[in-house]
């Protein structure tokens, strides 16, 4: 879909496509919509030097530098979500009421070190 992350092979830290299908988990009889959604996840390296597009914190820059000097003693910084989006789910509750519920931070838009 239009808002799914670009598919460019790279081992740098960035969002990876992950589609969650509600019917796969057997929830299709109570979730009205959507049938699933692109949740994505973060994966990839945070190598020294950290480039600007890796959305890194100052501490991450420091940690990559120390990692480059002492790889055994200090790991690379983590690749984590830095911008997330909400989703809305329409479903039936146990009393057959229709519920529209908004959930924050359910889609990974951007990753960072």
């Amino acid at each position: 879909s239009a808002d799914s992350p670009p598919v460019t092979p790279s081992n740098l830290c960035k969002p990876r496509r992950l589609y969650i299908s509600f019917s796969d988990v057997g929830w299709e009889n109570w979730i009205i919509a959507p049938q699933g959604y692109m949740a994505n996840y973060c994966l990839g390296e945070c190598p020294f030097p950290l480039t600007a597009e890796l959305n890194s914190t100052n501490h991450a820059i420091l940690q990559t530098m120390v990692h480059s000097l002492d790889p055994q003693g200090t790991p690379q910084p983590c690749c984590v979500p830095v911008r997330l989006s909400p989703i809305s789910i329409l479903y039936y509750d146990n009393n057959d009421n229709v519920v529209l519920r908004h959930y924050e931070d359910m889609v990974v838009d951007e990753c960072g070190c």
Binding site: N95, V98, L100, R101, H102, D105
Partner: protein, 232 residues
């Protein structure tokens, strides 16, 4: 349930996996809000506040539409000019303890617009009472056991009427005493109703009364507070 499934349900704020018995059509207002959110441009997706319902400008992340579970009250002695009297009851017990009610809106729906000549602009009176004591089934409630909430006249030109019942719904939750409402619609006595062709014909156009529902917005303090803290 597998452990993973129950943990996922819990993260969605659900204690158990719902098992609907007679799924009802999705209310158009919910479908419209859902579609608006789904189609909002991805550029401001991250900026959307999932803990606020922009459409009603109130805090909240859960919107429910409750169907009315009340019944019509049939008077043994028909009251002058009264077209219908109905007990309305909305079962709010499904709201979880950690949910803070921020808005409740009653919708009275008529099956059609009355723009055609027969019903054009006939004026009715509507009264809405909060019931404070139960009366026997089918018996009209006594004056002393009900409080007048709304009294207004309306010309039946529109498909539905909306009333803000946030205060009443909050009372129901705070004092866990939800005895429902009484809706009365009568012919406006002012336009010489008694002079023309009988109560039945006067009430004919109100027969298009379809149903009532209560839209309730709540804020899950568990979900909205935790995420705010994390973001900060």
């Amino acid at each position: 349930l597998s452990l993973q499934e129950s943990l996922l349900l819990k993260s969605l704020g659900l204690s158990t996996k719902p098992s609907p018995k007679t799924p009802v059509p999705v209310p158009s207002v919910l479908w419209r809000i859902f579609q608006n959110r789904k189609t909002s441009p991805s550029t401001n997706k991250g900026l959307e506040d999932a803990c606020r319902v922009e459409e009603f400008n109130v805090p909240g992340n859960i919107i429910r539409v409750f169907a009315d579970q009340g019944h019509f009250v049939h008077n043994r002695q028909p009251q002058a000019l009264l077209c219908l009297q109905k007990r309305l009851y909305f079962n709010l017990s499904v709201l979880e303890e950690g949910e803070h009610l921020t808005m409740a809106q009653l919708e009275i729906k008529f099956s059609h617009n009355s723009y055609h000549a027969s019903g054009q602009g006939r004026v009715f009176e509507l009264r809405l009472y909060q019931t404070s004591q139960m009366s026997l089934r089918g018996m009209p409630s006594r004056e002393s056991s009900r409080t007048l909430l709304v009294e207004q006249s309306f010309a039946q030109l529109h498909k539905s009427l909306l009333f803000n019942l946030s205060g009443v719904a909050k009372d129901w939750r705070t004092y866990s005493k939800n005895l429902g409402l009484i809706l009365e619609i009568s012919v406006d006595g002012g336009d010489g109703a008694s002079a023309t062709g009988g109560l039945q014909s006067l009430c004919a156009s109100i027969d298009s009364f379809l149903d009532t529902s209560l839209l309730v917005v709540t804020l899950s303090q568990q979900q909205c507070r935790a995420s705010r803290r994390r973001r900060r």
